[in-house]
């Protein structure tokens, strides 16, 4: 009888997880397995000797080592620089806070080609920062990784910090702890799950970044991801690609095991409440000073982008913007058409990832009643992180060879792109929602149920008010991931309607009057759109005390 009750709980668990599992299975596990199978069974028989040979190559060792340390350093710096920014943007009030929050997410949506051009125009010998000698250096790569990822830390940690119960910190201060001691002994331990979550996501983003490494590394540096890209798209060496993809899987799984250990807290049922953020004051000076570094890192290349788009032949001009609105043979679509296509895809990707993310977060954060249940939840939690850590090229090519026949004849489906983007955004969504959901006292739900509220009503009453803000933060992420054309989607077939990043790639592909300026201008449009959407989301967040 006992096992029946337990079985029923496990069944409910899997029921909730069913939709995300099916989506993950069809759009990730199946394609990646397909590619691995092609590589590991080249002629229908398993060739492990070939794989071992790949692992033995000195180049692979070098590449793996560079991947690990550059991603590790990128993660560390993103966290170190992101925390003070999160503090300022989520625990302090000052004019322009919303705009800054929005601006930080802009790098996320910029196609890497543009970021490469923007960064390199700053760093190249003739550029404003040419004197630093960073062009083509590993430092430039790490700086770009931080540029992309600091927003992840700020947003994920910030939304938790914002709703952290301020009383333990106040109690510690009353006990004589200095602000720094309060930070170290109370606040940071409370933030640890959020920090670890964000760090693990950032690490995976860093470790699988490839456009930025290719552009800024100037071919001197390779990561596992760029290797897989070259092996697959250029050399068609599927065996070596599969071997490296296996290596990625091992690293990801190891990372997940470590983070799961680190994320565990003594007191998961912490009371969350939104404290009133005080005005920015003199005591925030150290945080402000530290924050200037990441802010400059984000703002300076963006400013370079804007300036580049309005400098034509050494003069100020909006010619590039005007040219973007007129269809020509070179321009596959006008900027307004491309923007609409981008936004439409992004809306789809966003709601899909939020739906899947809510289900997954609900599943992984509910209290477990048995060890088997706890293990199942942990396993599910890790499973949905995989799309971030495994090569997008493998997924993209995998789509082509596995989703080609009924019932899964989906290669040409217009939903393939948003679904693939939703899967990439999913870990971000889950990581943003899970700390908030996990912080809810389960007895709140039980109280609601005992008052007669059916499960959906319980979710509306108890979970939604808490999860509402993180949900909007997650929506911002998902939207940005989609607008920026992450990962696998850049290898997917497209319709006649090109998105904004496609227009940008095309413009940067050949010489031409205004081509570079138009590409920069299109990037500014993309960035501005993102910023506006994020600002709107910020406005929503302020009024998020909905009554349900």
């Amino acid at each position: 009888m006992r096992s029946r009750a337990e079985g029923a709980r496990l069944l409910t668990l899997l029921g909730l997880a069913a939709l995300p599992l099916v989506v993950l299975g069809v759009f990730f596990v199946l394609p990646v397995s397909g590619m691995l199978a092609r590589g590991l069974w080249p002629d229908g028989s398993l060739d492990l000797a070939g794989v071992v040979e790949v692992f033995g190559r000195p180049r692979v060792h070098r590449v793996l080592w560079f991947t690990l340390w550059s991603a590790g350093l990128g993660t560390l710096l993103s966290v170190l620089l992101g925390l003070p920014v999160a503090h300022l943007l989520y625990r302090r009030r000052f004019p322009g806070r919303g705009a800054l929050r929005a601006a930080l997410l802009v790098p996320f949506v910029l196609p890497t080609v543009v970021v490469g051009v923007a960064f390199r125009r700053l760093l190249a010998t003739g550029g404003p920062l040419g004197g630093l000698g960073l062009d083509g250096s590993a430092a430039a790569i790490v700086a770009a990784l931080v540029f992309f990822n600091v927003a992840v830390v700020v947003r994920a940690v910030g939304s938790t910090w914002e709703s952290l119960d301020p009383r333990p910190a106040e109690a510690a201060a009353a006990l004589g702890a200095s602000p720094r001691q309060v930070l170290w002994t109370v606040t940071l331990p409370a933030l640890r799950p959020a920090v670890v979550s964000a760090a693990s996501v950032v690490f995976l983003f860093c470790a699988t970044a490839f456009g930025v490494v290719l552009t800024l590394g100037g071919l001197r540096y390779s990561t596992v991801e760029t290797e897989i890209y070259l092996l697959t798209t250029n050399l068609l060496d599927l065996q070596a690609a599969a071997a490296l993809a296996l290596l990625q899987l091992v690293v990801v799984v190891a990372l997940l095991l470590v983070t799961q250990r680190l994320r565990r807290t003594a007191d998961p049922a912490r009371e969350h409440r939104v404290g009133h953020a005080p005005q920015l004051g003199r005591r925030d000076l150290p945080a402000v000073l530290v924050s200037l570094v990441p802010l400059a890192l984000v703002v300076v290349p963006l400013a370079g982008l804007v300036v580049g788009s309005v400098r034509v032949e050494g003069e100020w001009s909006l010619a590039a913007y005007r040219a973007l609105t007129r269809p020509t043979a070179v321009l596959p679509a006008t900027v307004q058409d491309a923007l609409v296509t981008s936004l439409r895809t992004a809306v789809d990707a966003t709601w899909m990832s939020l739906l899947l993310g809510l289900l997954v977060a609900a599943v992984v954060t509910r209290r477990s009643r048995s060890r088997a249940e706890r293990r199942t939840r942990a396993l599910l939690d890790g499973l949905f992180m995989l799309p971030l850590g495994v090569s997008a090229v493998m997924v993209g090519f995998g789509f082509l060879i596995t989703l080609d026949r009924p019932p899964l004849d989906l290669r040409d489906s217009p939903l393939l792109v948003p679904i693939a983007q939703a899967l990439v955004a999913l870990p971000l969504v889950v990581r943003t929602l899970a700390p908030a959901l996990g912080g809810i006292d389960d007895r709140q739900r039980q109280a609601a149920a005992s008052l007669g509220a059916p499960p959906w009503r319980v979710a509306l009453t108890v979970d939604l008010p808490v999860v509402w803000r993180p949900l909007l933060a997650a929506a911002g992420f998902a939207f940005a991931v989609s607008l920026g054309e992450f990962g696998a989607t850049s290898f997917l077939v497209r319709e006649d309607h090109p998105t904004l990043p496609v227009v940008i790639y095309r413009l940067l592909g050949r010489p031409g009057d205004l081509n570079a300026e138009m590409a920069l201008a299109a990037s500014v449009v993309l960035a501005a759109t993102t910023a506006v959407v994020m600002l709107a989301v910020e406005r929503l967040r302020v009024r998020s005390l909905g009554a349900w």
């Binding site: 039980q446 609601a448 005992s450 008052l451 007669g452 009503r457």
Partner: protein
């Protein structure tokens, strides 16, 4: 399946051989209890005795591993929490922080889609009942602990539950507030006429609120009966001590005290502090070891001949101090005879 004999069993809560496990470890075993319609049962036990798990089992928050729970004569197996009609009130209230007091109390009514004017009327009624009439628009964060518990109680009652389940409703409060709220609680419950199970580790709370009482230890009910019965005759020494008896005497010491009270000797005896009274005549004699003034009387520790050191009381103003020789009378109504251990 038992037929739903609702008329005969209306409002009755019945537990039959209930057992619950947590992660494979038995927590509650063989609990059979019946609470008649409108009755208030206190489940009293130390922490870890399984009493809260039992309550959660009744509410449907934990699956039963054995036995069954019947409400109105209907087996609740397979009925989800929200359809059971058991409103559970937690130790710390668990109010919804983002809803006002009125919205919290009105919540179960809205869940049942009650019309807005009925919600308003009933909320006003209930807030009146718990003495918080003007608190409608306050948010829970602005309330004191006692006020929160009152709101939680009003909210639970608003569900119009067939059974009200109270999990240590008063233990988060300070002593004076607790005493006052316990009185109020009794009044409110008897006015509402709702079948109630109250779980607590404070015997005072149980005495103040309940009609019947079940004492739990290590997952089992060791004693069950009316509050007076349990009080008068604890089933064993441990229960007696838990119920607030100051000490349990065995052997010759028990014999001396029982004889002095004019009762039959031969068993153990649980003694309340006020059972031995000094400052007058009495069958026992002893030497005061320590004395301390309390609100209504003088509290003594006396070395009694044939009994040993034991607590006693004396009227205020009797000026007794260490070294004084006293006579002690024994009040038989403040003793409880136990079966010999």
């Amino acid at each position: 399946m038992t037929p739903a004999t609702t008329v005969e069993h209306a409002g009755e809560l019945r537990l039959e051989d209930v057992g619950l496990d947590y992660d494979g470890v038995p927590v509650v075993r063989d609990v059979s209890l019946t609470v008649p319609a409108g009755g208030v049962l206190a489940v009293l036990g130390p922490s870890g005795s399984g009493k809260s798990t039992l309550l959660r089992g009744i509410a449907g928050l934990e699956p039963l591993t054995e036995g069954r729970v019947l409400l109105d004569g209907r087996d609740l197996a397979g009925v989800p929490t929200h359809r059971r009609g058991c409103a559970l009130m937690f130790q710390d209230g668990q109010l919804f922080a983002h809803l006002t007091v009125a919205q919290n109390v009105g919540y179960p009514l809205k869940v049942r889609r009650a019309p807005a004017d009925e919600v308003r009327r009933r909320v006003a009624e209930l807030l009146d009942l718990v003495g918080l009439s003007s608190y409608d628009d306050r948010l829970p964060a602005t309330l004191s602990g006692g006020e929160r518990q009152r709101v939680a109680l009003a909210r639970a009652l608003a569900a119009d539950p067939k059974a009200l389940l109270l999990d240590e409703p008063l233990s988060a409060l300070d002593a004076t507030l607790r005493a006052r709220l316990a009185e109020d609680l009794r009044g409110i419950l008897s006015d509402a006429g709702t079948t109630t199970v109250l779980v607590t580790h404070e015997q005072e709370e149980a005495f103040a609120v309940a009609d019947t009482m079940a004492v739990m230890r290590a997952g089992r009910v060791v004693q069950h009966g009316s509050v007076a019965e349990v009080w008068r005759a604890p089933v064993d020494a441990e229960t007696a001590l838990f119920l607030g008896y100051a000490s349990v005497l065995t052997g010759d010491a028990a014999g001396s005290v029982l004889a002095a009270a004019g009762l039959a000797t031969g068993g153990d005896v649980a003694v309340r502090r006020s059972a031995l009274r000094a400052g007058g005549e009495g069958p026992l004699s002893g030497v005061v070891v320590a004395a301390r003034s309390a609100a209504e009387q003088l509290r003594l520790l006396v070395d009694v001949t044939g009994v040993g050191r034991i607590e006693a009381v004396a009227p205020l103003g009797s000026h007794l101090g260490p070294g004084d020789v006293v006579r002690l009378a024994v009040d038989a109504t403040r003793l409880a005879t136990l079966a010999p251990s």
